[in-house]
Amino acid sequence: MRYNQRLFVPYPQGVGQCLTEGLCSVIELDQVQKSYQVGGRAIPALQPTDLTIDTGEVFGIVGHSGAGKSTLVRLINLLERPTGGRVLVDGEDVTHYDAAELRAFRRKVGMIFQHFNLLSSRTVADNIAFPMKLAGIYSKAQIRDRVAELLALVSLTDQGNKYPSQLSGGQKQRVGIARALACRPSILLCDEATSALDPQTTQSVLRLLAEINRELGLTIVLITHEMDVVRRICDRVAVMDGGRIVEMGAVTDVFLHPEHPTTRDFVFESENVDRDELQQDFEHAAGRILRLTFRGESTYKPLLGHVARQSGVDFSILSGRIDHIKDTPYGQLTLSLVGGNLEQAMAEFELADVHVEVVR
């Protein structure tokens, strides 16, 4: 039996644990689509989409507003009904659930929102207790104990008797997270959960989400328009545009080697790179221009000097950054290379597990 390490409570049967070895899928969308009837015409919000999200992963969905990501995440807990296709959670088609089954299912899927959606008329503690009261299967003592646990988990132990209006945005979102976890869900849906928060508060909320994912083994599906959020905590990402997924993969792959124009836009945006300016810089540079991508351990190797000596090329650095994608360090350097043996230099880089892209 798996235990929540922080709270020392066993998970209910079948939640947060994989029944087969290795990863098993928890959410599967099978040709799911959604369109809205507007004035007798069907306006598609989501094109038929296949998607599998695995147990315990943090899955990011990134896209501009109107790209369909909001619709996609709401199809998982059926706040939106699909107009076609199947939504399978732990192998069961949830679109066929009756009203009571659907409500029981929704208790297994927590959700947090951009604007928190806390009840202003209830205290923090009562907000957290609310889903348990709705469930109607918990005793008063169980609810009290669980609320105390959750307040501790989100570091709001002293704030239980306050009203949401007395809290900061970050604190409100922590209450939202605690409330979403009240009925011990196996999935947490995050709808632009950090978009209304300032950068520092965003960081602390993302840290909390990462911690929850690690310690409770919760599957997290997170939609956002900020690539930075994806970079910090997601394992995999899907990029959406015009109601369909245009690119999907491990965050490191998508982030370092974006293929689709929309993805490139997001990545550049998150790196604060002005592409026109960069282009101008390149025009002044002599020789070949290469973009090197270091990943993991190679990020910290003193490689440039070594390669320069071996191949006799001279280099100047046009742009560069070193950062992390979730827990993986990475670096990206754009170099202009003059003289020496260029072929050899490129081979040396490749040999050191550095991805080389010829820009010019």
């Binding site: 009203a99 029981a104 929704r106 959700m111 009840l119 609310f130 889903p131 949401p164 209006s165």
Partner: protein, 222 residues
């Protein structure tokens, strides 16, 4: 000095009339809320893009409410006479004034309830749905508590409207301060009685507004 200015004022009479007004407003407010609240909730729920969207039901309810609200109260008082006689047995006095007051107050309050429910953030409904709440839980657990300050403000406005409606009922033989004002102040030209009744009505309205505002403040957590 006071005695000479207020020669016609019978304070015992004024006292009873005030009590009658209080009873009329109190009883009609009670029934207006009892009827108007569920009607307001239904108006909200059956409205466009709401939980229990029912265009036909909404249209019917909305039509009835609009009809009752568009009839001037003084006319409603007269139109209601046969109905009042059926319910109460008489259309006169304090008891006879209550049915038309409710007929005027309930639809008014229902609209105010509908409006305050619409002001609750849709996200609250969505969040409660996402937590597995059913329609009943969404209404009683989330919507009504969140709209409570607005609903209390609505009760205050309705109460004040009922005070002026109740005064009007004096015209068709209702009781209370309005009746006094019409019979003595107007028909017998006793200006002092008119002034006192109006002053009492003003004080009454002020007190209601103050009480309402305090309650709204108490229940507002925003």
């Amino acid at each position: 000095m006071m005695e000479s200015l207020l020669t016609n004022v019978d304070w015992v009479e004024i006292g009873w009339a005030s009590w009658d007004t209080l009873v009329m407003v109190g009883m009609s407010l009670l029934f207006s809320v009892l009827i108007g609240l569920p009607v307001g909730v239904l108006l909200f729920l059956t409205g466009k893009r709401q939980l229990l969207e029912q265009p036909v039901a909404y249209a019917i309810l909305s039509f009835i409410v609009n009809v009752l609200r568009s009839v001037p109260f003084i006319i409603l008082l007269i139109v209601m006479i046969p109905v009042t006689v059926m319910i109460i047995g008489t259309s006169l006095g304090v008891a006879g004034a209550i049915p038309p007051l409710v007929a005027g107050g309930a639809p008014f309050f229902a609209r105010l309830v509908e409006t305050s429910l619409r002001e609750v953030d849709r996200g609250i409904i969505e969040a409660t749905q996402a937590m597995g709440g059913n329609v009943r839980q969404i209404i009683f657990g989330a919507l009504l508590p969140e709209a409570l300050p607005g609903i209390i403000a609505g009760i205050t406005v309705t109460a004040i409207t009922l005070v002026s409606y109740a005064a009007m009922s004096g015209v068709v033989g209702g009781g209370g301060l309005g009746d006094l004002a019409i019979r003595f102040g107007y028909q017998r030209f006793q200006t002092d009685v008119m002034v006192i009744t109006v002053a009492l009505l003003v004080v009454f309205v002020q007190l209601l507004q103050m009480l309402g505002d305090r309650l709204v403040l108490y229940f507002s957590r925003k």
